[in-house]
């Protein structure tokens, strides 16, 4: 009884109450689950390596890539548009030569028509010579032809000369 009275009269300080919080502890079961989860997360952290500074810089600049790509496409388009070439409805180039003499056939002569600079096929076509040197008249409407180097020819609605590179019309 006296011991109980002594206990109830013992002063209790704030610091004593806060120290009681040290007694709040999880169980062993909690720690087993904690350890296995943390192990899995640590392994994942090992696998998911942080990208290098270079890759992070690329990722940072990524949003401007579509804009740069579009700008590049526009430039290529306008550059290609600056060449006096007509396109027919199928998207292939058909040369319209205004002057020529009827009936002449140039052997081994080819005209290049392509949707893109890299496509070409060799094909004999019927052409006619015109008054101006190296002018040919295209009679065939085949979409794809090729032309030998150095031949100047007329294309489009008016006379124009196209320098050739690698048997391909640009």
């Amino acid at each position: 009884m006296d011991t109980d009275n002594n206990k109830s009269e013992a002063p209790v300080r704030l610091e004593d109450l806060l120290k009681l919080k040290r007694s709040e502890k999880p169980s062993e079961v909690f720690w087993e689950k904690f350890d296995s989860e943390l192990r899995a997360k640590t392994l994942k952290a090992l696998v998911d390596e942080k990208p290098s500074l270079f890759m992070r810089a690329i990722a940072y600049m990524a949003p401007i890539f579509p804009v740069a790509g579009v700008a590049l496409l526009v430039m290529v388009f306008f550059f290609s548009q600056s060449q006096p070439v007509n396109f027919n409805s199928e998207g292939s180039v058909v040369a319209h030569v205004q002057t020529a003499s009827q009936g002449d056939l140039l052997e081994n002569s080819y005209l290049a028509f392509s949707e893109g600079p890299a496509r070409y096929l060799k094909e004999e076509i019927s052409v006619e010579l015109g008054d101006e040197p190296n002018l040919v008249k295209v009679l065939s409407s085949e979409p794809i032809h090729s032309i030998s180097n150095g031949v100047r020819y007329a294309v489009g609605n008016g006379l124009a000369s196209m320098p050739l590179r690698n048997n391909t019309l640009y």
């Binding site: 209790v12 919080k21 943390l38």
Partner: protein
């Protein structure tokens, strides 16, 4: 020896213990930096309970505390190669844990769900519980639950900064000097925050304090 002297001695003992602890940690840390992942397991086993205790007492929520403790260890693991040893590993780790917890609490200000840990009566706590339970004349297990709830509520009335210093000093027994390094402020600020916080808590818990 009066209370103030015994407390001063306790702090000195803790400080000496921390110095020897820091030396032991440095060996493990170096091993981890050289690529030995198992050495990090040793550091986890050593600090997990203490780190969890700090975070739990700051948040009063065991589910969040488990996640935050794991998150703190992962952050430490990811950046351990940058650890240069300017502070002890213990201080560095606690700083990560405290900052992670503070960030979480700021994002979840409205989340006020308390969940309690098991109360394992040991050492001096058993005697104090007996005293308090005798005063309240309530069933002991009921009283313990009520006390836990009141302590958590009282701590949550403090601001994050004040709660942090109270938990680190009064619950974890960390010195003012070390707390200043952990929370990155002056020792004077730590003492000032502690003083204010204890005044608040005195008012909140006056029913239990004699």
């Amino acid at each position: 020896m009066n209370t103030a002297d015994s407390e001063a001695k306790a702090l000195i003992d803790v400080s000496e213990h921390r110095s020897s602890e820091a030396c032991a940690d440095a060996v493990w840390v170096q091993s981890v930096q050289e690529g030995n992942v198992e050495a990090f397991d040793q550091l986890i086993r050593k600090y997990r309970e203490r780190l969890y205790s700090v975070i739990y007492n700051m948040t009063s929520n065991r589910e969040d505390s488990a996640d935050l403790t794991q998150e703190s260890f992962i952050k430490a693991f990811r950046s351990i190669k940058k650890f240069k040893g300017k502070s002890s590993f213990f201080t560095w780790l606690y700083r990560i844990a405290v900052n992670t917890t503070i960030t979480h609490m700021k994002k979840n200000r409205l989340r006020r769900f308390f969940s309690f840990e098991n109360f394992q009566e040991e050492g001096g706590s058993e005697e104090l519980i007996e005293v308090l339970a005798a005063k309240s004349q309530a069933d002991k297990s009921v009283f313990v639950k009520e006390l836990q709830e009141r302590l958590n509520e009282a701590l949550q009335t403090l601001s994050i900064n004040h709660r942090t210093v109270v938990v680190l000093h009064e619950v974890e027994g960390i010195s003012h000097q070390e707390i200043a390094k952990i929370v990155d402020c002056s020792e004077g600020t730590v003492r000032s925050r502690l003083h204010y916080a204890k005044q608040q808590l005195q008012a909140e818990l006056k029913d239990y304090i004699s």
